[in-house]
Protein backbone atom coordinates (compact mmCIF):
# COMPACT_ATOMS: atom_id res chain seq x y z
CA UNK A 1 0.00 0.00 0.00
CA UNK A 2 1.41 3.35 -0.98
CA UNK A 3 1.50 6.28 1.31
CA UNK A 4 -0.50 9.12 -0.23
CA UNK A 5 0.01 12.26 1.78
CA UNK A 6 -2.99 13.97 0.22
CA UNK A 7 -5.24 11.27 1.57
CA UNK A 8 -4.26 12.17 5.09
CA UNK A 9 -6.86 13.58 7.47
CA UNK A 10 -6.85 15.83 10.48
CA UNK A 11 -8.18 14.78 13.87
CA UNK A 12 -8.81 17.76 16.16
CA UNK A 13 -7.40 16.98 19.60
CA UNK A 14 -10.80 17.63 21.11
CA UNK A 15 -12.05 14.59 19.19
CA UNK A 16 -9.30 12.24 20.35
CA UNK A 17 -11.33 10.65 23.15
CA UNK A 18 -14.34 10.15 20.89
CA UNK A 19 -11.97 8.56 18.41
CA UNK A 20 -10.66 6.17 21.07
CA UNK A 21 -14.18 5.42 22.26
CA UNK A 22 -15.09 4.70 18.63
CA UNK A 23 -12.11 2.35 18.23
CA UNK A 24 -13.06 0.49 21.37
CA UNK A 25 -16.52 -0.16 19.98
CA UNK A 26 -15.00 -1.71 16.86
CA UNK A 27 -12.52 -4.15 18.45
CA UNK A 28 -10.77 -4.90 21.71
CA UNK A 29 -8.46 -1.90 22.18
CA UNK A 30 -4.88 -2.15 23.38
CA UNK A 31 -3.12 1.04 24.40
CA UNK A 32 -0.45 2.43 26.73
CA UNK A 33 -1.63 2.64 30.34
CA UNK A 34 0.14 3.50 33.58
CA UNK A 35 1.79 0.92 35.79
CA UNK A 36 3.62 2.45 38.73
CA UNK A 37 5.99 5.00 37.29
CA UNK A 38 6.08 3.22 33.96
CA UNK A 39 3.82 2.70 31.01
CA UNK A 40 2.76 -0.66 29.60
CA UNK A 41 0.62 -1.78 26.68
CA UNK A 42 -2.56 -3.31 27.98
CA UNK A 43 -6.09 -4.00 26.89
CA UNK A 44 -8.22 -1.07 28.05
CA UNK A 45 -11.69 -1.17 29.51
CA UNK A 46 -11.85 2.49 30.28
CA UNK A 47 -10.36 4.83 27.69
CA UNK A 48 -9.57 7.42 30.33
CA UNK A 49 -6.77 5.05 31.43
CA UNK A 50 -4.95 5.60 28.15
CA UNK A 51 -1.71 7.57 28.35
CA UNK A 52 -1.18 9.66 25.26
CA UNK A 53 2.23 11.11 26.07
CA UNK A 54 4.71 8.52 27.19
CA UNK A 55 8.31 7.81 26.32
CA UNK A 56 8.53 4.05 26.26
CA UNK A 57 6.66 1.05 27.57
CA UNK A 58 8.57 -1.63 29.51
CA UNK A 59 7.73 -4.26 26.88
CA UNK A 60 7.03 -3.46 23.26
CA UNK A 61 3.61 -4.17 21.71
CA UNK A 62 5.18 -7.36 20.30
CA UNK A 63 3.55 -9.28 23.17
CA UNK A 64 0.17 -8.90 21.46
CA UNK A 65 1.51 -10.40 18.23
CA UNK A 66 3.72 -13.16 19.63
CA UNK A 67 2.96 -13.91 23.29
CA UNK A 68 5.99 -14.58 25.46
CA UNK A 69 4.62 -17.98 26.38
CA UNK A 70 2.39 -19.81 23.98
CA UNK A 71 1.06 -23.32 23.42
CA UNK A 72 1.87 -24.19 19.81
CA UNK A 73 -0.26 -27.34 19.73
CA UNK A 74 -1.17 -30.40 21.73
CA UNK A 75 -0.79 -33.92 20.44
CA UNK A 76 -2.09 -37.27 21.44
CA UNK A 77 0.50 -39.99 22.08
CA UNK A 78 -2.06 -42.66 21.06
CA UNK A 79 -2.55 -41.64 17.46
CA UNK A 80 -0.22 -38.65 17.05
CA UNK A 81 -3.09 -36.37 16.08
CA UNK A 82 -2.31 -32.72 16.53
CA UNK A 83 -4.74 -30.08 17.63
CA UNK A 84 -4.69 -26.42 18.45
CA UNK A 85 -7.44 -24.22 19.71
CA UNK A 86 -5.55 -21.12 18.66
CA UNK A 87 -7.72 -18.44 17.16
CA UNK A 88 -6.55 -14.95 16.41
CA UNK A 89 -8.96 -12.24 17.47
CA UNK A 90 -9.52 -8.79 16.04
CA UNK A 91 -7.55 -6.19 17.97
CA UNK A 92 -6.55 -2.58 17.61
CA UNK A 93 -3.25 -1.47 19.09
CA UNK A 94 -3.24 2.26 19.61
CA UNK A 95 -0.38 4.56 20.55
CA UNK A 96 2.60 2.78 19.02
CA UNK A 97 5.71 4.89 18.55
CA UNK A 98 7.57 4.95 15.29
CA UNK A 99 10.46 2.78 16.53
CA UNK A 100 8.03 0.08 17.62
CA UNK A 101 6.23 0.17 14.27
CA UNK A 102 9.60 -0.40 12.63
CA UNK A 103 10.16 -3.17 15.15
CA UNK A 104 6.96 -4.82 13.98
CA UNK A 105 8.05 -4.43 10.39
CA UNK A 106 11.25 -6.32 11.29
CA UNK A 107 9.18 -9.05 12.95
CA UNK A 108 7.06 -9.17 9.79
CA UNK A 109 10.19 -9.88 7.77
CA UNK A 110 11.40 -12.47 10.23
CA UNK A 111 8.10 -14.31 10.53
CA UNK A 112 6.68 -13.88 7.05
CA UNK A 113 9.51 -13.66 4.53
CA UNK A 114 10.60 -17.26 4.25
CA UNK A 115 8.52 -20.11 5.67
CA UNK A 116 5.77 -17.80 6.88
CA UNK A 117 4.44 -18.61 10.31
CA UNK A 118 0.70 -19.07 9.67
CA UNK A 119 -0.17 -18.10 13.21
CA UNK A 120 1.75 -14.84 13.07
CA UNK A 121 0.15 -14.10 9.70
CA UNK A 122 -3.32 -14.66 11.08
CA UNK A 123 -2.66 -12.40 14.06
CA UNK A 124 -1.19 -9.69 11.87
CA UNK A 125 -4.16 -9.78 9.52
CA UNK A 126 -6.53 -9.25 12.42
CA UNK A 127 -4.51 -6.52 14.09
CA UNK A 128 -4.86 -2.82 13.36
CA UNK A 129 -1.78 -0.76 14.23
CA UNK A 130 -2.24 2.90 15.06
CA UNK A 131 0.92 4.88 15.68
CA UNK A 132 1.47 8.19 17.41
CA UNK A 133 4.34 10.67 17.23
CA UNK A 134 6.71 11.09 20.17
CA UNK A 135 9.67 13.02 21.47
CA UNK A 136 12.92 11.30 22.46
CA UNK A 137 14.45 10.95 25.92
CA UNK A 138 18.11 10.31 26.64
CA UNK A 139 17.94 6.61 25.77
CA UNK A 140 16.33 7.00 22.35
CA UNK A 141 18.53 6.84 19.26
CA UNK A 142 15.98 6.14 16.52
CA UNK A 143 17.42 8.99 14.48
CA UNK A 144 20.59 6.90 14.00
CA UNK A 145 18.72 3.74 13.11
CA UNK A 146 16.48 5.55 10.63
CA UNK A 147 13.35 4.67 12.54
CA UNK A 148 12.34 8.02 14.00
CA UNK A 149 9.49 8.39 11.53
CA UNK A 150 6.94 5.90 10.29
CA UNK A 151 8.22 5.22 6.79
CA UNK A 152 6.89 2.24 4.95
CA UNK A 153 3.38 1.14 5.61
CA UNK A 154 3.14 -1.92 7.77
CA UNK A 155 0.85 0.20 9.97
CA UNK A 156 -2.68 1.38 9.42
CA UNK A 157 -2.93 4.89 10.85
CA UNK A 158 -0.36 7.25 12.27
CA UNK A 159 -1.19 10.32 14.36
CA UNK A 160 1.33 13.15 14.35
CA UNK A 161 0.90 15.86 16.95
CA UNK A 162 0.78 19.20 15.10
CA UNK A 163 -0.37 21.40 17.97
CA UNK A 164 -4.13 21.70 18.19
CA UNK A 165 -4.69 18.67 15.98
CA UNK A 166 -3.30 15.32 14.97
CA UNK A 167 -2.21 14.90 11.39
CA UNK A 168 -3.48 11.43 10.54
CA UNK A 169 -1.54 9.50 7.88
CA UNK A 170 -3.24 6.49 6.38
CA UNK A 171 -1.08 3.45 5.73
CA UNK A 172 -3.51 0.77 4.61
CA UNK A 173 -7.05 0.00 3.49
CA UNK A 174 -7.78 -1.06 7.07
CA UNK A 175 -6.79 2.45 8.12
CA UNK A 176 -9.04 3.88 5.45
CA UNK A 177 -11.97 1.87 6.69
CA UNK A 178 -11.52 3.15 10.23
CA UNK A 179 -11.50 6.73 8.98
CA UNK A 180 -14.66 6.12 7.00
CA UNK A 181 -16.32 4.50 9.97
CA UNK A 182 -15.49 7.43 12.24
CA UNK A 183 -15.71 10.07 9.54
CA UNK A 184 -17.51 12.67 11.60
CA UNK A 185 -14.45 13.10 13.83
CA UNK A 186 -12.02 14.09 11.07
CA UNK A 187 -11.62 17.02 8.76
CA UNK A 188 -9.74 17.35 5.48
CA UNK A 189 -6.18 18.62 5.46
CA UNK A 190 -5.34 22.13 4.46
CA UNK A 191 -2.08 23.61 3.23
CA UNK A 192 -1.35 24.93 6.70
CA UNK A 193 -1.62 21.45 8.19
CA UNK A 194 1.10 20.23 5.84
CA UNK A 195 3.37 23.02 7.04
CA UNK A 196 2.69 22.12 10.65
CA UNK A 197 3.35 18.48 9.86
CA UNK A 198 6.74 19.31 8.38
CA UNK A 199 7.50 21.47 11.38
CA UNK A 200 6.74 18.64 13.78
CA UNK A 201 9.20 16.45 11.92
CA UNK A 202 11.83 19.12 12.25
CA UNK A 203 11.06 19.48 15.93
CA UNK A 204 11.69 15.82 16.61
CA UNK A 205 14.98 15.91 14.74
CA UNK A 206 16.07 18.98 16.63
CA UNK A 207 15.33 17.28 19.92
CA UNK A 208 18.23 14.93 19.20
CA UNK A 209 20.68 17.76 18.80
CA UNK A 210 22.36 17.53 22.17
CA UNK A 211 22.00 13.80 22.60
CA UNK A 212 24.64 11.17 22.26
CA UNK A 213 23.96 9.23 19.13
CA UNK A 214 25.92 6.30 17.77
CA UNK A 215 27.36 6.57 14.31
CA UNK A 216 25.95 3.58 12.45
CA UNK A 217 27.81 4.15 9.19
CA UNK A 218 29.02 0.71 7.95
CA UNK A 219 28.04 -0.69 11.35
CA UNK A 220 28.04 -4.33 10.20
CA UNK A 221 31.66 -3.99 9.12
CA UNK A 222 32.57 -2.17 12.28
CA UNK A 223 31.25 -5.01 14.46
CA UNK A 224 33.07 -7.59 12.38
CA UNK A 225 36.32 -5.64 12.27
CA UNK A 226 36.19 -5.03 16.01
CA UNK A 227 35.31 -8.61 16.88
CA UNK A 228 38.44 -8.91 19.01
CA UNK A 229 38.24 -5.44 20.54
CA UNK A 230 38.91 -5.24 24.31
CA UNK A 231 35.74 -3.16 24.56
CA UNK A 232 33.68 -6.37 24.54
CA UNK A 233 35.47 -7.77 27.58
CA UNK A 234 35.26 -4.51 29.45
CA UNK A 235 31.53 -4.09 28.88
CA UNK A 236 30.68 -7.76 29.38
CA UNK A 237 32.44 -7.80 32.72
CA UNK A 238 29.53 -5.77 34.09
CA UNK A 239 26.89 -7.80 32.29
CA UNK A 240 24.69 -9.92 34.57
CA UNK A 241 23.47 -12.14 31.71
CA UNK A 242 20.02 -11.30 33.00
CA UNK A 243 18.45 -11.28 29.53
CA UNK A 244 16.54 -8.07 30.14
CA UNK A 245 18.03 -6.42 27.05
CA UNK A 246 16.63 -9.06 24.69
CA UNK A 247 13.40 -9.63 26.59
CA UNK A 248 12.42 -5.97 26.25
CA UNK A 249 13.61 -5.63 22.66
CA UNK A 250 10.94 -5.09 20.01
CA UNK A 251 12.83 -7.17 17.44
CA UNK A 252 14.17 -10.18 19.38
CA UNK A 253 12.44 -13.41 18.50
CA UNK A 254 14.35 -16.31 20.08
CA UNK A 255 12.38 -18.96 21.91
CA UNK A 256 12.73 -22.37 23.51
CA UNK A 257 10.18 -25.07 23.00
CA UNK A 258 9.43 -27.97 25.32
CA UNK A 259 6.91 -30.80 25.43
CA UNK A 260 4.87 -31.02 28.61
CA UNK A 261 3.00 -34.31 29.13
CA UNK A 262 -0.09 -34.71 31.28
CA UNK A 263 -0.11 -37.31 34.10
CA UNK A 264 -1.46 -40.07 31.87
CA UNK A 265 1.01 -39.29 29.13
CA UNK A 266 -1.90 -39.23 26.69
CA UNK A 267 -1.77 -35.60 25.64
CA UNK A 268 1.35 -33.54 25.34
CA UNK A 269 1.50 -29.76 25.10
CA UNK A 270 4.21 -28.13 23.00
CA UNK A 271 4.99 -24.95 24.90
CA UNK A 272 7.14 -22.19 23.46
CA UNK A 273 8.63 -19.46 25.62
CA UNK A 274 10.84 -16.48 24.94
CA UNK A 275 14.49 -16.95 25.71
CA UNK A 276 17.65 -14.90 25.42
CA UNK A 277 21.06 -15.36 23.84
CA UNK A 278 22.41 -13.88 27.07
CA UNK A 279 21.63 -17.08 28.98
CA UNK A 280 24.37 -19.70 29.08
CA UNK A 281 21.99 -22.59 28.32
CA UNK A 282 21.04 -20.86 25.07
CA UNK A 283 24.20 -22.16 23.41
CA UNK A 284 24.42 -25.43 25.33
CA UNK A 285 24.28 -28.56 23.19
CA UNK A 286 24.31 -32.27 23.92
CA UNK A 287 27.53 -33.35 25.53
CA UNK A 288 27.73 -30.20 27.62
CA UNK A 289 29.42 -27.98 25.05
CA UNK A 290 28.70 -24.24 25.14
CA UNK A 291 28.98 -22.52 21.79
CA UNK A 292 29.10 -19.19 23.62
CA UNK A 293 31.14 -20.22 26.64
CA UNK A 294 32.01 -16.81 28.04
CA UNK A 295 30.03 -13.78 29.09
CA UNK A 296 31.95 -11.78 26.52
CA UNK A 297 30.94 -14.14 23.74
CA UNK A 298 27.29 -13.88 24.72
CA UNK A 299 27.37 -10.14 25.18
CA UNK A 300 28.99 -9.62 21.80
CA UNK A 301 26.56 -12.02 20.17
CA UNK A 302 23.62 -9.69 20.73
CA UNK A 303 25.35 -6.81 18.99
CA UNK A 304 26.54 -9.14 16.29
CA UNK A 305 23.05 -10.41 15.63
CA UNK A 306 21.48 -6.94 15.70
CA UNK A 307 23.99 -5.31 13.37
CA UNK A 308 25.43 -8.14 11.28
CA UNK A 309 22.97 -11.02 11.51
CA UNK A 310 19.73 -9.17 10.80
CA UNK A 311 21.13 -7.35 7.75
CA UNK A 312 22.03 -10.76 6.31
CA UNK A 313 18.70 -12.27 7.30
CA UNK A 314 16.28 -9.51 6.39
CA UNK A 315 18.30 -6.67 4.92
CA UNK A 316 17.53 -4.37 7.83
CA UNK A 317 19.33 -3.60 11.06
CA UNK A 318 17.89 -5.53 13.99
CA UNK A 319 17.84 -2.44 16.18
CA UNK A 320 15.27 0.34 15.96
CA UNK A 321 16.88 2.59 18.56
CA UNK A 322 14.04 2.38 21.08
CA UNK A 323 16.51 2.50 23.98
CA UNK A 324 14.74 -0.17 26.04
CA UNK A 325 17.77 -2.42 26.41
CA UNK A 326 19.74 0.42 27.96
CA UNK A 327 16.93 1.98 29.97
CA UNK A 328 16.03 -1.36 31.59
CA UNK A 329 19.50 -2.88 32.04
CA UNK A 330 20.01 -3.45 35.79
CA UNK A 331 23.75 -2.96 35.25
CA UNK A 332 23.15 0.27 33.33
CA UNK A 333 25.01 -0.96 30.28
CA UNK A 334 24.24 1.30 27.35
CA UNK A 335 24.14 0.11 23.78
CA UNK A 336 24.93 3.60 22.54
CA UNK A 337 28.03 3.78 24.76
CA UNK A 338 29.25 0.38 23.63
CA UNK A 339 28.86 1.36 19.99
CA UNK A 340 30.61 4.67 20.54
CA UNK A 341 33.47 2.92 22.31
CA UNK A 342 33.81 0.40 19.50
CA UNK A 343 33.92 3.20 16.97
CA UNK A 344 36.65 4.67 19.13
CA UNK A 345 38.89 1.60 18.92
CA UNK A 346 38.08 1.28 15.23
CA UNK A 347 38.77 4.78 14.09
CA UNK A 348 41.48 5.99 16.41
CA UNK A 349 44.65 6.78 14.58
CA UNK A 350 47.37 4.21 15.08
CA UNK A 351 49.81 5.28 17.74
CA UNK A 352 47.49 7.80 19.35
CA UNK A 353 45.95 7.30 22.74
CA UNK A 354 42.45 5.87 22.65
CA UNK A 355 40.12 8.79 22.59
CA UNK A 356 36.43 8.29 22.31
CA UNK A 357 34.64 9.89 19.42
CA UNK A 358 31.34 10.37 21.06
CA UNK A 359 30.16 13.36 19.08
CA UNK A 360 27.61 11.29 17.22
CA UNK A 361 26.05 12.29 13.99
CA UNK A 362 25.57 15.97 13.26
CA UNK A 363 22.19 17.06 12.10
Amino acid sequence: MEFHIERAKVLPKSNLWSFLEGLKKISPLIAPVKRGNKTVFSEVNDISDIIINYTRTILPPKKFLVPYRRVRFTYSTDNLSFSSNFKARDQIIFGIHSCDLHGISILDSVYLKENPDPRYLEVRKKTVLIGISCMPDDYCFCLSTGTAFPDGANWDLFLTDIGADYFVSIGSPKGDELIIELKRLFRDIEREDLELYKRSTRKKKEAFKNKKLPDLERISQLIELEYESPVWDEEAKRCLSCGTCTNVCPTCFCYTSIDVPDFEGKTVKRVEFTTSCQYPYYSLVAGGHYFKPTRTARFRHRYYHKFVGYPYQIEKLGCVGCGRCSAECPAKISMVETLIRLRGTDEKEPGKAAEQTSAGRSL
Binding site: L240, F263, T275, P280, P330
Partner: protein, 256 residues
Protein backbone atom coordinates in the same frame (compact mmCIF):
# COMPACT_ATOMS: atom_id res chain seq x y z
CA UNK B 1 1.21 -48.86 40.54
CA UNK B 2 3.89 -46.20 40.76
CA UNK B 3 4.92 -45.78 44.37
CA UNK B 4 5.66 -42.30 45.58
CA UNK B 5 7.17 -41.27 48.90
CA UNK B 6 7.38 -37.80 50.41
CA UNK B 7 9.54 -37.34 53.47
CA UNK B 8 11.02 -34.50 55.47
CA UNK B 9 14.38 -34.04 57.18
CA UNK B 10 15.51 -30.83 58.91
CA UNK B 11 13.24 -28.16 57.51
CA UNK B 12 10.00 -26.36 58.22
CA UNK B 13 7.66 -28.75 56.35
CA UNK B 14 6.64 -25.81 54.20
CA UNK B 15 7.51 -27.63 51.00
CA UNK B 16 5.51 -30.70 52.03
CA UNK B 17 2.58 -28.40 52.79
CA UNK B 18 3.01 -26.81 49.40
CA UNK B 19 2.82 -30.28 47.83
CA UNK B 20 -0.41 -30.86 49.76
CA UNK B 21 -1.65 -27.58 48.33
CA UNK B 22 -1.48 -29.04 44.81
CA UNK B 23 -5.06 -30.25 45.33
CA UNK B 24 -6.02 -30.59 41.68
CA UNK B 25 -2.92 -32.55 40.85
CA UNK B 26 -3.19 -34.81 43.90
CA UNK B 27 -6.81 -35.48 43.06
CA UNK B 28 -5.80 -36.60 39.60
CA UNK B 29 -2.87 -38.64 40.90
CA UNK B 30 -4.80 -40.65 43.47
CA UNK B 31 -5.77 -43.86 41.72
CA UNK B 32 -2.86 -43.65 39.32
CA UNK B 33 -0.05 -43.61 41.86
CA UNK B 34 0.22 -44.82 45.39
CA UNK B 35 1.33 -42.35 48.04
CA UNK B 36 3.10 -45.08 49.97
CA UNK B 37 4.84 -42.79 52.41
CA UNK B 38 3.78 -39.27 53.38
CA UNK B 39 3.70 -39.04 57.18
CA UNK B 40 2.80 -35.36 57.15
CA UNK B 41 -0.47 -36.18 55.42
CA UNK B 42 -1.49 -39.73 56.33
CA UNK B 43 -1.40 -42.19 59.24
CA UNK B 44 -0.56 -45.39 57.40
CA UNK B 45 2.86 -45.34 55.80
CA UNK B 46 5.14 -47.87 54.21
CA UNK B 47 8.82 -47.12 53.71
CA UNK B 48 9.70 -50.29 51.84
CA UNK B 49 10.34 -49.22 48.26
CA UNK B 50 9.62 -46.35 45.89
CA UNK B 51 9.68 -45.34 42.28
CA UNK B 52 10.07 -41.69 43.20
CA UNK B 53 11.03 -40.36 46.59
CA UNK B 54 10.71 -36.64 47.26
CA UNK B 55 12.87 -35.43 50.11
CA UNK B 56 12.45 -32.11 51.88
CA UNK B 57 14.87 -30.56 54.37
CA UNK B 58 18.58 -30.49 54.99
CA UNK B 59 20.71 -33.16 56.62
CA UNK B 60 21.77 -32.04 60.07
CA UNK B 61 21.62 -35.12 62.34
CA UNK B 62 22.61 -38.76 62.19
CA UNK B 63 18.88 -39.60 62.03
CA UNK B 64 18.49 -37.45 58.92
CA UNK B 65 21.50 -39.09 57.36
CA UNK B 66 20.40 -42.65 58.06
CA UNK B 67 16.88 -42.03 56.85
CA UNK B 68 18.17 -40.42 53.66
CA UNK B 69 20.63 -43.20 52.88
CA UNK B 70 17.90 -45.74 53.51
CA UNK B 71 15.46 -43.84 51.29
CA UNK B 72 18.00 -43.63 48.51
CA UNK B 73 18.53 -47.40 48.62
CA UNK B 74 14.80 -48.01 48.37
CA UNK B 75 13.92 -45.61 45.57
CA UNK B 76 14.58 -45.60 41.84
CA UNK B 77 14.52 -41.81 41.67
CA UNK B 78 15.27 -39.32 44.39
CA UNK B 79 14.15 -35.72 44.05
CA UNK B 80 15.31 -32.96 46.42
CA UNK B 81 12.44 -30.56 47.09
CA UNK B 82 13.01 -27.09 48.42
CA UNK B 83 16.05 -24.99 49.08
CA UNK B 84 17.04 -26.86 52.29
CA UNK B 85 17.29 -30.15 50.44
CA UNK B 86 18.99 -28.60 47.42
CA UNK B 87 21.53 -26.26 49.02
CA UNK B 88 21.28 -26.62 52.79
CA UNK B 89 18.70 -23.89 53.36
CA UNK B 90 18.72 -20.77 55.50
CA UNK B 91 20.04 -22.82 58.42
CA UNK B 92 23.32 -23.23 56.55
CA UNK B 93 23.89 -19.58 55.66
CA UNK B 94 26.64 -19.16 58.26
CA UNK B 95 28.24 -22.57 57.82
CA UNK B 96 31.48 -20.99 56.68
CA UNK B 97 31.54 -18.40 59.46
CA UNK B 98 31.20 -20.37 62.67
CA UNK B 99 32.30 -23.73 64.00
CA UNK B 100 29.77 -26.39 64.94
CA UNK B 101 30.65 -25.93 68.61
CA UNK B 102 29.95 -22.24 68.45
CA UNK B 103 26.61 -22.91 66.77
CA UNK B 104 25.55 -25.54 69.32
CA UNK B 105 26.58 -23.33 72.19
CA UNK B 106 24.60 -20.39 70.80
CA UNK B 107 21.44 -22.45 70.38
CA UNK B 108 21.54 -25.10 73.12
CA UNK B 109 23.94 -23.61 75.64
CA UNK B 110 25.32 -26.39 77.80
CA UNK B 111 22.49 -28.87 77.17
CA UNK B 112 23.85 -32.19 75.96
CA UNK B 113 22.11 -33.55 72.89
CA UNK B 114 21.65 -37.29 72.61
CA UNK B 115 22.13 -37.32 68.87
CA UNK B 116 24.92 -36.62 66.49
CA UNK B 117 24.58 -33.15 64.99
CA UNK B 118 26.41 -31.57 62.06
CA UNK B 119 26.28 -28.38 60.09
CA UNK B 120 23.20 -28.52 57.89
CA UNK B 121 24.01 -29.82 54.43
CA UNK B 122 22.19 -30.49 51.19
CA UNK B 123 21.10 -34.02 50.27
CA UNK B 124 23.70 -34.18 47.52
CA UNK B 125 26.45 -34.14 50.16
CA UNK B 126 25.22 -37.52 51.35
CA UNK B 127 23.58 -39.34 48.44
CA UNK B 128 23.12 -39.07 44.68
CA UNK B 129 20.23 -36.79 43.84
CA UNK B 130 18.44 -37.18 40.51
CA UNK B 131 16.59 -33.87 40.36
CA UNK B 132 16.52 -30.71 42.40
CA UNK B 133 13.47 -28.48 42.80
CA UNK B 134 14.67 -25.52 44.83
CA UNK B 135 12.52 -22.74 46.25
CA UNK B 136 11.48 -21.62 49.69
CA UNK B 137 9.00 -23.14 49.34
CA UNK B 138 9.20 -25.07 46.10
CA UNK B 139 6.96 -23.95 43.26
CA UNK B 140 3.74 -25.96 42.94
CA UNK B 141 3.67 -25.78 39.16
CA UNK B 142 7.19 -27.12 38.97
CA UNK B 143 6.31 -29.98 41.28
CA UNK B 144 3.32 -30.95 39.15
CA UNK B 145 5.33 -30.65 35.94
CA UNK B 146 8.12 -32.77 37.41
CA UNK B 147 5.74 -35.50 38.53
CA UNK B 148 4.02 -35.55 35.12
CA UNK B 149 7.37 -35.72 33.35
CA UNK B 150 8.86 -38.43 35.55
CA UNK B 151 5.73 -40.58 35.36
CA UNK B 152 6.16 -40.53 31.59
CA UNK B 153 9.88 -41.06 31.49
CA UNK B 154 10.56 -37.49 30.34
CA UNK B 155 13.41 -35.42 31.77
CA UNK B 156 11.98 -32.29 33.39
CA UNK B 157 13.63 -29.23 31.88
CA UNK B 158 14.58 -26.32 34.11
CA UNK B 159 17.04 -23.99 32.42
CA UNK B 160 18.87 -22.05 35.13
CA UNK B 161 17.93 -18.64 33.81
CA UNK B 162 17.74 -15.61 36.09
CA UNK B 163 14.63 -14.36 37.89
CA UNK B 164 14.89 -11.16 35.81
CA UNK B 165 13.50 -13.21 32.94
CA UNK B 166 10.15 -13.75 34.60
CA UNK B 167 10.23 -10.37 36.30
CA UNK B 168 10.75 -8.46 33.07
CA UNK B 169 8.26 -10.49 31.09
CA UNK B 170 5.69 -9.66 33.79
CA UNK B 171 6.53 -6.01 33.14
CA UNK B 172 7.63 -5.26 36.66
CA UNK B 173 9.50 -2.00 36.98
CA UNK B 174 13.09 -2.90 37.85
CA UNK B 175 13.68 -2.53 41.60
CA UNK B 176 17.45 -2.56 41.32
CA UNK B 177 17.29 0.50 39.09
CA UNK B 178 15.19 2.18 41.78
CA UNK B 179 17.84 1.42 44.38
CA UNK B 180 16.10 -1.55 46.03
CA UNK B 181 18.44 -4.53 46.56
CA UNK B 182 17.29 -7.39 44.36
CA UNK B 183 18.92 -10.76 43.71
CA UNK B 184 17.00 -11.43 40.52
CA UNK B 185 19.99 -11.24 38.18
CA UNK B 186 21.89 -13.97 40.05
CA UNK B 187 18.98 -16.22 41.05
CA UNK B 188 17.37 -19.26 39.46
CA UNK B 189 13.95 -18.42 38.04
CA UNK B 190 10.88 -20.62 37.96
CA UNK B 191 8.87 -18.91 40.68
CA UNK B 192 7.30 -16.35 38.34
CA UNK B 193 9.00 -13.51 40.26
CA UNK B 194 6.17 -12.88 42.74
CA UNK B 195 8.42 -10.93 45.11
CA UNK B 196 9.52 -8.24 42.69
CA UNK B 197 5.94 -7.90 41.46
CA UNK B 198 4.94 -6.92 44.98
CA UNK B 199 7.83 -4.50 45.32
CA UNK B 200 10.17 -6.69 47.39
CA UNK B 201 13.59 -7.42 45.95
CA UNK B 202 14.20 -11.06 45.09
CA UNK B 203 15.84 -12.77 48.08
CA UNK B 204 17.39 -15.47 45.96
CA UNK B 205 15.38 -18.23 47.61
CA UNK B 206 15.85 -20.55 44.63
CA UNK B 207 19.63 -20.33 44.61
CA UNK B 208 22.02 -19.55 41.79
CA UNK B 209 21.21 -19.16 38.14
CA UNK B 210 23.88 -20.42 35.73
CA UNK B 211 27.22 -18.61 36.19
CA UNK B 212 25.96 -15.77 38.41
CA UNK B 213 27.97 -12.54 38.13
CA UNK B 214 28.48 -11.91 41.85
CA UNK B 215 31.17 -9.30 41.27
CA UNK B 216 28.82 -7.03 39.41
CA UNK B 217 25.84 -7.56 41.69
CA UNK B 218 28.03 -6.80 44.73
CA UNK B 219 29.23 -3.61 43.13
CA UNK B 220 25.65 -2.60 42.30
CA UNK B 221 24.59 -3.22 45.92
CA UNK B 222 27.38 -0.98 47.11
CA UNK B 223 26.40 1.69 44.59
CA UNK B 224 22.90 1.73 46.06
CA UNK B 225 24.21 2.04 49.60
CA UNK B 226 24.75 -1.42 51.10
CA UNK B 227 28.06 -2.14 52.79
CA UNK B 228 30.17 -4.89 51.30
CA UNK B 229 29.56 -7.16 54.30
CA UNK B 230 25.81 -6.66 54.21
CA UNK B 231 25.83 -7.32 50.49
CA UNK B 232 27.58 -10.64 50.97
CA UNK B 233 25.28 -11.59 53.86
CA UNK B 234 22.25 -10.74 51.76
CA UNK B 235 23.44 -13.05 48.99
CA UNK B 236 24.20 -15.84 51.43
CA UNK B 237 20.79 -16.17 53.07
CA UNK B 238 19.40 -18.90 50.83
CA UNK B 239 22.38 -20.06 48.79
CA UNK B 240 23.83 -22.32 51.44
CA UNK B 241 26.59 -24.44 50.13
CA UNK B 242 26.53 -22.94 46.65
CA UNK B 243 27.99 -19.64 47.78
CA UNK B 244 29.97 -20.48 50.92
CA UNK B 245 33.31 -18.75 50.98
CA UNK B 246 32.24 -16.27 48.30
CA UNK B 247 35.19 -14.20 47.27
CA UNK B 248 35.04 -11.30 44.90
CA UNK B 249 36.84 -11.80 41.65
CA UNK B 250 36.39 -15.55 41.75
CA UNK B 251 33.02 -15.73 40.09
CA UNK B 252 33.97 -14.63 36.63
CA UNK B 253 34.61 -16.43 33.38
CA UNK B 254 35.06 -20.17 33.06
CA UNK B 255 31.79 -20.77 31.32
CA UNK B 256 30.65 -17.51 32.76
Amino acid sequence: MVRIGIMGLTGCSGCQCEILNCEDAIGKLIGKVEFAYFPLAQDVNDFSEFDILFVEGSVSTNLDREKLIEGRKRSKLLVAVGTCACYGGVQSQRNDEASLDEMLKAVYGDTKLDLEVFKPMPLSDVVDVDYELPGCPLDKRQFVYTVASLLNGVEPFFPKIPVCHECKLSETDCLLLKGIPCQGPVSFSGCGAPCTASGVGCQGCRGNCDFPNFDEILSIYQDIGLSFDDSVKFLKVFRGKTISGLKVGSSNEKGA
